[in-house]
């Protein structure tokens, strides 16, 4: 739909190709070093990469959802969340409604997955769902839907498979190398047999060795670079879909103030989340080893979008924050949608007392989690809702507030 997707894709493709070259280089080095046959190493690298790719392509989303212990919800489980996802689906022009998942975790985070827009899912932690008002939730969900719409999910999955393959190969190669050196195995015997090969061979071998050590690091840096770029674009698209950048900005602010770390995240899945689950305080903009741009910067850019909600406005705000810098969104892409106005806040956010609203939301979410865990609710006459775990076997229960005996 919006043309920037295509032009941004080109830059990403270049970075992916760079990673691919790294993979081939390491395969070459392994082949040369261990099998005396560079082509064999290349084939090995490609086979490992191919297998991992197939797994990621067909089962990647299920694996990701399973390891983050996400659970699918139905519209009636949490109408507000489901509605917000549907609203953003409409705003983005996505054709199929993504599945909605909840992760029972007090940490604040959300992610999107799925190999194409027709098979996508959005997951959000119960902690985040509790913390955000409707506008903020909309901003976060729009950011995730933008990842789906811009096909970042597939791109990041392919990249992480590439990265994974490079890391695995380098890891085993270096183990073999150490092992070989200790026992006088293949590596050394090979070297002595090819004594006559001269200095050139040793240099090539040293280069190969350096490559095995450096490739995983380089691949990781490229991976992070791709990831950061996609985050900016998703933020810009979020503002465009909601026409209300402040929603995402204030959601990010809440995310920034939280110190709880997500239990089920790991380094490989980090770029899928809306903020880096391993974030440390005081990270700089130029930090190369981060999957996400610093939150404070993302918030500042969103807040600087005074003129409108189009991608041009985001780009302008980006330039403003990085005085005199280059924009993040390619020029050819920005003319696609004309002037786009901003809208005002949802009245809910203004009128409701923040305290009361927060309590209400917390109750809503905890009820949802209890329902998902098959708890039964029994209304007591005094207005209390009694929640019974599935393991509760007695036929009656005493209300802790009024002392009435209720039948289960």
């Amino acid at each position: 739909m919006w043309e920037q997707i295509r032009s941004n894709q080109i830059r990403s493709v270049i970075l992916v190709i760079a990673m691919g070259i790294l993979l081939l280089a390491i395969g070459f080095a392994i082949g040369f070093y261990f099998f005396e046959n560079a082509v064999g190493g290349l084939i090995l690298a490609i086979i490992v990469w191919g297998i991992l790719n197939l797994i990621a392509f067909f089962q990647g989303d299920n694996i990701l959802l399973a390891i983050s212990r996400a659970r699918k919800i139905k519209p009636e489980d949490h109408p507000r969340l489901y509605n917000v996802v549907e609203e953003m689906k409409i705003a983005s022009g996505l054709e199929k409604m993504p599945d909605v998942y909840i992760i029972d975790d007090p940490a604040l985070n959300a992610f999107a997955t799925g190999r194409n827009p027709d098979r996508a899912a959005v997951a959000i932690t119960s902690g985040l769902l509790q913390k955000l008002n409707r506008d903020e939730l909309q901003g976060v969900i729009a950011h995730e839907i933008a990842h789906i719409k811009n096909r970042d999910v597939l791109l990041m999955a392919l990249c992480s498979v590439l990265l994974g393959t490079i890391v695995i190969l380098a890891f085993f190669a270096s183990r073999f190398l150490i092992f070989g050196a200790v026992t006088g195995g293949t590596g050394r015997s090979r070297r002595s047999s090819s004594q006559g090969g001269g200095q050139a061979q040793i240099i090539i071998m040293l280069v190969g060795l350096a490559l095995m050590i450096l490739a995983p690091i380089a691949a990781q840096l490229i991976y992070f670079a791709i990831s950061r770029k996609r985050e900016y674009l998703a933020d810009a698209s979020s503002a465009l879909y909601t026409r209300y950048p402040e929603g995402l900005a204030s959601a990010l602010e809440k995310l920034g103030n939280s110190t709880v770390q997500l239990q089920s995240a790991n380094q490989a899945t980090a770029p899928m989340y809306i903020t880096n689950p391993f974030r440390q305080k005081g990270m700089k903009a130029s930090d190369l080893s981060s999957t996400h741009p610093p939150l404070s910067e993302r918030i500042r850019i969103l807040r600087a979008m005074a003129g409108g909600a189009a991608l041009t406005d985001y780009d302008q705000a980006y330039r403003q924050v990085h005085a005199g810098g280059k924009g993040v969104i390619t020029a050819g892409a920005m003319g696609a949608v004309g002037a786009v106005g901003l809208r005002s806040a949802e009245p809910e956010a203004v009128t409701k007392e923040p305290e009361a609203e927060h309590i209400e939301r917390s109750r809503e979410v905890s009820d949802l989690m209890l329902r998902m865990n098959k708890y039964r609710t029994i209304p007591c006459d005094c207005g209390t809702k009694l929640k019974l775990p599935p393991t509760y076997k007695d036929s009656t229960i005493k209300c802790p507030h009024c002392g009435r005996i209720n039948h289960v």
């Binding site: 507000r80 609203e87 705003a91 022009g93 026409r243 696609a336 809208r343 949802e346 009245p347 409701k352």
Partner: protein, 187 residues
């Protein structure tokens, strides 16, 4: 001989351009139609929700008959002309939106109503439907903008003229005050 090749080349290229542009126009037009269908779904959903809302609310706010009637009338009117074009329909839907927001503003004064679970569920549905209407309108208008640009800009306008691709109407709501989503809010 060279001249013949040049002519053949030009003809082939222009046929190719024609096909690409034509298909592009059809794609954009279908996107507009699809976007329109999306709005339609949401507007229908609103027609369905309103009688429920009026039923739920009636018992609590019997002295607000006028407000309730205004909503019902606006709904019926909007439903009647639901086969009209975007321009006319926008006006009726705008009126419905403002009648609805008046009703919901009045409901603010009835604490009992705000404690009613049924009403709260309806309120969430209605808030979301209003949002969906405005988001699908946003998407529709973006699609129309792109389609219209294509039909009016050179060189695609030549092909648009040849095959009668008409520019489409934007979906605008009636008055300036209704440009925002109605204030559906119950503190």
């Amino acid at each position: 001989m060279i001249a013949v090749y040049v002519i053949i080349g030009i003809v082939v290229i222009s046929i190719f351009m024609l096909i690409v542009t034509y298909n592009g126009l059809v794609g954009f037009r279908n996107q507009v139609r699809n976007a329109w269908a999306q709005i339609d779904v949401q507007l229908k959903r609103r027609y369905d929700l309103i009688p429920n809302l009026v039923e739920t609310v009636r018992g609590y706010m019997s002295h607000e008959r006028e407000t309730l009637e205004a909503v019902t009338n606006a709904r019926n009117l909007a439903q009647q002309i639901s086969s009209a074009g975007a321009g006319e329909r926008g006006k009726a839907e705008g009126e419905l939106s403002s009648a609805l927001s008046r009703l919901l503003a009045v409901a603010e004064n009835y604490p009992d109503l705000k404690a009613n679970q049924n009403f709260l569920a309806l309120q969430e549905e209605l808030t979301s439907t209003e949002n969906k209407i405005s988001f699908s309108r946003q998407y529709y208008n973006d699609s129309v903008l792109r389609y219209n640009n294509k039909t009016q800009q050179f060189p695609s306008n030549v092909i648009a003229g040849m095959f009668r691709f008409q520019p489409d109407e934007f979906f605008e709501v009636a008055a300036a005050e209704e440009r925002e989503a109605p204030k559906v809010s119950f503190a």
